[in-house]
């Protein structure tokens, strides 16, 4: 942490005043949140932890009824919600799936999430769903297509979405711009916000031998509506270079905490999700990790955090 604290201080002095005060954020509170896992449904309702928000994967709730809707409905009464899509396939070379947009619209009407986000990636080809977030080349044709798709999503859902920077393992010879330029242009043209996944930034930058802080600094940070933090696994490529895998199966790495602190110093308190999708630990463990994120946020000058949503006593 000592290294990152130093970075924070430097960054804060140099750039804070340059960042616009108006936050075009997500509507989520500038606090830490955790992913809502079915194994924690009952625990959440029984203990009502003091947490900023919960996030769910939209596709898990595209079912007719049953416990998922029962518990999400009850938990939503007490917490703000972030709806995070993993199946919209915004980077696909085919058109956006209108039936999937209809399902998203229905979920948004039902649960009134404070934020909807999706990935700069593709996950379906034709009618085959590949269940992974796959990479796109950063060229003009892809940029145009992604912007058309984001426009269509925002038009259909009648709301601004957040677009998440990906973790990638490969690069395309066809790319003509870097990822930050691509995201900056997509955000500028569509008016969407950025979901800054700091772990993805770290993973991709290690995988492609770039400087993560420089990458993050070149993103449109004034449009960040939410931050994601997660853990990664470590592998090696064919030449023995480190290849980090965005696994969501372990605690947040110290390097990612350092980058996160640097980001906060730049943009101030920001809704931050601790993502854990594999080897999910106890709710208490997730909450402790969320508390660490919240401890890194300077106290907001605005309204007190407690309010009708949070049920603080």
């Amino acid at each position: 942490m000592s290294i990152s604290n130093t970075v924070v201080g430097q960054r804060a002095k140099r750039t804070t005043s340059a960042v616009p005060k108006i936050r075009t954020g997500s509507g989520l509170p500038a606090r830490a949140g955790v992913g809502l896992k079915p194994e924690h449904f009952r625990d959440v309702l029984a203990t009502r932890p003091d947490i900023g928000f919960f996030e769910v994967h939209a596709e898990n709730y595209m079912v007719d009824g049953g416990p998922f809707h029962h518990f999400l409905g009850r938990i939503r009464e007490h917490y703000p919600l972030s709806l995070h899509g993993v199946g919209l396939s915004i980077g696909a070379d085919g058109p956006i799936d209108e039936a999937h947009l209809d399902r998203l619209d229905a979920l948004i009407r039902r649960y009134q999430p404070a934020s909807f986000s999706e990935h700069l990636a593709w996950s379906s080809h034709g009618d085959v769903f590949l269940n992974d977030l796959l990479p796109v080349p950063y060229d003009r044709a892809t940029l145009d297509r992604v912007c058309d798709h984001v426009d269509r999503v925002q038009e259909r859902l009648q709301r601004r979405m957040l677009l998440e920077n990906p973790s990638t393992y490969l690069e395309f010879e066809a790319s003509t711009m870097d990822e930050a330029a691509f995201l900056t242009e997509a955000v500028r043209r569509t008016g969407c916000g950025l979901l800054l996944d700091v772990n993805n930034a770290h993973v991709s930058c290690v995988n492609h031998s770039r400087a993560a802080l420089a990458y993050i600094s070149s993103l449109p940070l004034d449009t960040v509506g939410e931050i994601h933090l997660a853990g990664f696994a470590t592998d090696r490529d064919a030449a023995g270079a480190p290849l980090l895998i965005d696994s969501h199966g372990s605690p947040v790495d110290e390097a990612v905490w350092g980058l996160y602190a640097a980001v906060l110093a730049r943009i101030g308190p920001t809704p931050t999700l601790l993502e854990r999708d594999n080897d999910v630990p106890s709710l208490a463990t997730l909450l402790a990790e969320a508390q660490r994120a919240e401890n890194l946020m300077p106290a907001p000058a605005g309204p007190k955090r407690c309010g009708i949503y949070w049920g603080c006593s």
Binding site: D97, H125, D132, L170, F172, A174, S209
Partner: protein
């Protein structure tokens, strides 16, 4: 390189790494593509394993994952909603030659799939004795009454003791005394938040399947009685009602509500 080429390379490990991919250090991109290949196939195998835990216990994890890896490549998901992935798994297991030594494996898969279907099915209130009594005293032909099944229900008919086998794997009953060759039929239903697996008495499976296809009470009971003289209509109705498997009574040709 198109996304079609990339997608094909993900699901077919024998295909070469598509052209146009690179790594900063000039290393062979095949090793990096392997991360995506593994993400796709492993996550889908995990999804299948989540739905069919007893099938996995019956054949062991190693065999199960090998079998599932063939399945996910042959039947990748056709929906972005994975909750119902694996509809073809039981039929696939029936035709999977290395699994033939376990003849009941496919039917256990059908039972597990029915449980996941029930878990996510639409909610509906159960038919009460009062509602049934009201319909029965409506002056209509009792035999023509149509009993409407809960949206979550499935019937799994088997030549094997699938309910006993499944229950033993939940710690309910002793697996060593289960005779897999005894035929059993299962009713799967979720009246509230919990999915129930019930062993159906003789003829009741035929009765429920008839109800599901819209048959009237008399016709459904007739089909069940034609299958076995042991069919007990009051007993079957009591079983279904006490587990919330029926939701309403429709009176054909009568004043609609």
């Amino acid at each position: 390189m198109t996304q079609a080429t990339f997608a094909a390379a993900l699901l077919t490990p024998d295909l070469p790494c598509p052209a146009g991919l690179q790594a900063w250090n000039g290393s062979d991109p095949t090793a990096r593509l392997a991360v995506y290949r593994n993400n796709v196939v492993s996550s889908l195998i995990d999804a299948v394993a989540d739905t069919f835990p007893v099938v996995q216990e019956l054949v062991g994890e190693e065999f199960f994952r090998a079998m599932a890896s063939v399945f996910v490549r042959r039947h990748p998901p056709r929906s972005r909603v994975l909750a119902h992935y694996g509809a073809e798994f039981a039929d696939f297991v029936d035709g999977f030659a290395p699994a033939r030594a376990v003849p009941y494996l496919g039917d256990v898969a059908r039972l597990e799939r029915a449980r996941v279907f029930a878990y996510h099915a639409a909610d509906a209130d159960a038919l009460t004795a009062e509602m049934l009594g009201e319909a029965m005293s409506s002056g209509e032909d009792l035999g023509a009454l149509q009993l409407v099944c809960h949206p979550s229900i499935s019937v799994v008919v088997s030549k094997h003791a699938i309910v006993s086998l499944w229950a033993a794997h939940q710690g309910d009953g002793d697996l060593s005394v289960v005779d897999p060759a005894l035929p059993e039929s299962a009713l799967v239903v979720r009246p509230g938040l919990d999915v129930l697996v019930l062993r159906l008495p003789p003829g009741a499976a035929r009765f429920v399947i008839a109800l599901q296809t819209g048959a009237g009470l008399a016709d459904a009971a007739g089909l069940a009685a034609g299958e076995t003289i042991d069919f007990d209509l009051p007993n079957a109705l009591a079983l279904l009602m006490s587990h919330g498997a029926l939701t309403s009574v429709q009176i054909p040709r009568s004043r609609s509500r």
